[in-house]
């Protein structure tokens, strides 16, 4: 399966980190680990900018996080217009990793506030789409 299946509407189909999708489908949050400098990367990356190594080792991380900020999109790109309004957020996970992700529509806007504890969960709503979503803890 190509990487265009990551997200609601993928733009990039070819990458070295395509194995990420199979982790998400197994309800795991994948990261890569640089074998040389031992640093973990999330979102996963295939190349270590520190020691310039090619990274091939995978691990999984905990989805507990705190919301850094969010918005509610009312005016969207054409292919997302039917989903409006929807939330997008940035959250910080354990270990300092940051993620940009949609926030579950089950939460009301008044409940969202920077600093709020949340959880990043893998989701595979259809066979063609797999990603992660910020939800209530």
């Amino acid at each position: 399966m190509g990487f265009e299946k990551f997200g609601k509407e993928g733009y990039v189909s070819q990458t070295k980190i395509t194995p990420m999708l199979s982790y998400l489908k197994k309800n795991q949050l994948p990261a890569t680990v640089c074998q040389k400098c031992k640093r973990t990367w999330f979102p996963p990356r295939a190349d270590c900018p520190n020691c310039k190594s090619n990274i091939t080792e995978w691990t999984t991380i905990d989805g507990t996080c705190r919301l850094v900020t969010f918005t509610e999109v009312h005016f969207a790109p054409p292919q997302f217009q039917s989903d409006t309004p929807y939330f997008l957020g940035v959250a910080e996970l354990k270990g300092g990793f940051r993620v940009f992700a949609p926030i579950s529509g089950k939460i009301s806007r008044d409940m969202l506030k920077p600093g709020r504890q949340m959880v990043l969960r893998p989701t595979t709503p259809t066979a063609d789409h797999t990603y992660y979503l910020l939800e209530e803890l």
Binding site: F70, V73, F100
Partner: protein, 384 residues
Amino acid sequence: MGKVAIIGVGHSKFGKRSDASLRELAFEAYRAALGDAEIESKTIDASLVCSATHYDKQRSPAGVINEYLGLNPKPTFNVEAACASSAVGLRTASALISSKLHDIVAVVGVQKMTELPNEEIQELMGRAGDVMWESPFGTTMPAYYAMYATAHMSRYGTTEEDMARVSVKNRAYGAKNPDAMFQKPILLEDVLNSRMVSYPLKLFDCCANADGAACLIVANGEKARKLSDSPVWVAGLGLASSPMSLAGRNGPLTSFEVSKKAARTAYAMARIRPEDVDVAEVHDSFSITEILNYEDLGFAKPGRGAKLLKDHETELGGKTPVNVDGGLIAKGHPVGATGASQIATLVHQIRGEAGKSQVDGAKVGLAQNIGGIGMYGCVTVLKA
């Protein structure tokens, strides 16, 4: 850097310019700049065409624009840094001149946006962020800036009304600028009642896509003194980058690190402090951006940007008048032209030719231009 000055500026009318093509818009600004500098094309050594080329139907637009301006076989190339393209164009021209490769360079900022069908432009805007990690979730330009607004509101208590004050101020100045897209002042309630685009930003918190061009004639010190009675000197140039992905950035997302870093560089090079700035042009792509810019440029302490507005300190007669030409919110934002438009305004201010929006005795001007969603930050200081 060697001495570099701006000896001529030109500006087209910004807005929905269904009467003119990309090359014709560029020509309007170029002709005006040559007239302002009182020189002919033969005096120009090279042109830098600055645009966010993904909006252009014409591929590699420098080719056709240089031809239309009648500048072949002189060197030309495109400079692209999204919304900061022509500010980076001025930086590039300064480097070319300082290195003595050229004596006089025309920086042509231009964009034609309203010709694109709405669907196409929305699709393009959707890819303004990191297409691998962020665009697949339905990002938009306003959504990115809205996230900074949410964070600033939460941390500092900034309100939607505070942000609306930016739009009201800038639209009032736009009404005095014949080149601005919007010529009508608006009220606080107009902003607050306009439709939601991306919470907390509403329609009148956002600048509009536009067509337009602005041109700068940039010269070395010797030529500038010979050709001009009132050269305006490029005193400080700052440029910095931030991760393009929002998740790649640190901190509470209540300020733009690119602006802070670029400002530090530009202030040091120009040997000035924030309080020495007589008039500023800042990147008000959204109302919240102007508030963040006050803080990032050192006009206000972190979290105190909104207070400057309440105290009228960024209006004419205030401590540091900001965007007295209407800013992006009133002028419209023809992406590639915006940076040069800001510089053109400062040149008029420093020469004392800004008419109804003149800041008395302006000698030091600052322009701050953010590229895209904050991955490029450009700060330029000009002096009399």
